[in-house]
């Protein structure tokens, strides 16, 4: 187990993310992201079958997952099992527990090409991983996700700025899936949830062609010293993900999905 220092708020320097344990153990960036995305996908699908929300247990599980691989390498602990343990733990910490057996069964049913072990074996693995996970994430179970800030900004727009409710909800509908997809990136390791929320809200405003709103620099009352360059960089992480998914198509279309 690598004993790198964990920042108290789990927000890492770019350098640390680039030099994750998996990278240090010789994996390239593409493979690392690919394996992680595969596992995030597992979490999203199983979470959805349980009726969990990304703005809830599934989202927490994704964040546990990203944090875990800042301290351990994928070579040491394969992503798929880790993703199941993250779900298992997040179910409990978010008060929507699911039995270990249900999680394992679901995984075997939907991802038989990935999990090539029998049920008991898989359950055993999930349980063992839970302890490694607990130790690694230092019992820091309470995860702050960007969603609640999106809701907050939207309410502000409606009440304080008296913007048209339909327009605001159109922006939210665009921002929400952007946040959903941010879990496929390393954003939650690099930025506070407020900053991610502001940036993706800002992007949604752009995508929905309300540039004039962004000209008011509405975010300044929520987060200090956030320039549009920085937001641009943050948004690009998500947009790059779409580019990758669509083999180069534009990102805006995917964002509305």
């Amino acid at each position: 187990m690598s004993r790198s220092r964990i920042p108290a708020d789990w927000i890492f320097e770019e350098d640390a993310i680039k030099n994750s344990p998996s990278r240090k153990a010789g994996m390239n960036e593409r493979d690392e992201l690919k394996l992680k995305r595969e596992a995030i996908d597992i979490m999203k699908k199983i979470g959805a079958e349980f009726g969990w929300k990304l703005n809830g247990a599934t989202g927490a599980a994704c964040v546990y997952f990203h944090r875990f691989y800042m301290l351990h390498s994928i070579q040491e602990f394969p992503c798929p099992t880790t993703s199941l343990s993250c779900l298992f733990l997040a179910g409990k910490s978010e008060e929507t527990p699911k039995k270990c057996k249900d999680i394992a069964q679901n995984a075997l049913k939907n991802f038989s090409h990935i999990f090539r072990v029998n049920l008991n074996q898989l359950m055993d693995d999930v349980m063992s991983m839970e302890r490694v996970l607990l130790q690694t994430i230092k019992f820091d179970f309470t995860i702050d996700l960007p969603y609640r800030y999106i809701i907050m900004y939207a309410n502000d727009f409606k009440s304080k700025r008296a913007f048209d409710a339909a327009m605001v909800s159109d922006i939210v509908c665009c921002a929400w899936p952007l946040v959903n997809d941010s879990f496929f990136t390393h954003l939650c390791l690099a930025w506070e949830p407020q900053i991610i929320a502001v940036s993706l809200f800002w992007l949604a405003i752009k995508l929905r062609q309300h540039e004039e709103i962004n000209e008011t620099k509405w975010w300044e009352e929520h987060v200090a010293e956030l320039c549009s360059d920085k937001m641009e960089t943050i948004c690009h992480e998500v947009l790059d993900y779409y580019t990758l998914m669509n083999g180069g198509n534009n990102g805006g279309a995917a964002a509305s999905g």
Binding site: I74, K92, S93, K99, F115, M129, L134, F139
Partner: protein, 331 residues
């Protein structure tokens, strides 16, 4: 190759997983003497090897169930961690939680590393050579209320407040400890009632009806008197005795005051008048006795809140941290 999914078990058999849980802990913390034992854990003094700082480390062991680490444990530690980040000066700070698995994965040990304090209030009251001056008592009481106010504001009922769970330092700072049994509460929910040490238990707990944060206020009421008089206010050995001890001093609750849904009927107890304040509260000044009475109201909803208590005359002009009173070392 990493793309091949190997089960953890195979990896472990191949010796490719190191599980240095216990080692990790002992590499970081050197365990020294036992400083306390409670119903759920043993508390040690430890030295944090990288910094040489001393901490208290509480070790709790539990069996791993079929569902892994119990949800209740996760809930408790996470609320502790959340509180820890908010860092209130009258709450014992949790620095780190660690866990280890032993006995082939059947036992889970959780270690909580906290600030080490000089005494708990029980030892302190037992070992001080004479009664404390009025002001010193108030300063201690005020900090207990502040800590509990913070807990309640964060929706935590301690449920096990007693002098053993109130820590105190030479500089007279007080820290509430041991949330081992606290639960995040909603005022309607009722939980198991088997845990609070009897002496500080409120009648609604003893009579097994639903309860809320007011149980902590009752416990403080008992402690207020104890801080001045250095003997417990109500000291029964069994639940039945504890009720009798309470009723003989405070008088039998009226039918209106009798907790709804109580497991025992009021008629089982003899009528009893309430003792006068000076017999109840000994050397407490009137303002203190008034506050204690408010804390010891039979009707939970009528008891003061911790926030209210801090506004009463008892605490007027009480400064938060007094110049350290020269105090004889008691250890």
């Amino acid at each position: 190759m990493f793309t091949v999914l190997q089960s953890l078990k195979e990896l472990r058999m191949a010796g490719e997983i190191v599980e240095p849980w216990d080692d990790n802990i002992h590499q970081t913390y050197k365990q020294e003497n036992v400083i306390g034992k409670g119903a759920y854990g043993v508390v040690y003094t430890v030295t944090h090897l990288p910094t040489g700082r001393k901490f208290a480390m509480k070790k709790m062991e539990m069996r791993v169930s079929e569902e892994g680490v119990p949800q209740s444990v996760i809930r408790e530690i996470s609320s502790l961690a959340v509180l820890g980040k908010k860092n209130h000066e009258n709450i014992n700070t949790l620095h780190e939680s660690l866990c280890s698995v032993s006995n082939n994965g059947t036992t889970l040990a959780i270690y909580m590393v906290m600030d080490k304090c000089d005494w708990d209030l029980y030892t302190f009251l037992r070992d001080i050579p004479r009664d404390m001056p009025d002001m010193q008592c108030r300063v201690i009481a005020m900090q207990i209320f502040r800590g509990v106010d913070f807990l309640h504001a964060n929706n935590i009922v301690h449920r096990d407040l007693k002098p053993q769970n109130v820590l105190i330092n030479k500089d007279q700072t007080v820290k509430i400890a041991d949330f081992g049994l606290s639960r995040t509460y909603s005022s309607q929910a009722s939980f198991t009632t088997t845990v609070v040490t009897l002496w500080y238990r409120s009648p609604e707990l003893l009579l097994q009806t639903s309860y809320n944060s007011a149980v902590d206020i009752w416990a403080i009421g008992c402690m207020l008197s104890e801080i001045y008089n250095r003997r417990p206010l109500f000291s029964g050995q069994t639940e039945a005795q504890q009720l009798v001890a309470t009723f003989t001093k405070l008088g039998l609750p009226s039918p209106q005051e009798w907790p709804r849904g109580a497991v025992i009927e009021r008629a089982t107890y003899p009528e009893h008048p309430r003792l006068p304040d000076n017999l109840l509260f000994g050397r407490m000044p009137q303002e203190g006795a008034d506050l204690a009475k408010w804390c010891l109201d039979y009707i939970p909803e009528r008891r003061c809140s911790a926030a209210h208590a801090l506004l009463t005359r008892f605490f007027h002009g009480v400064t938060h941290r007094p110049a350290p009173t020269p105090l004889r070392e008691v250890n």
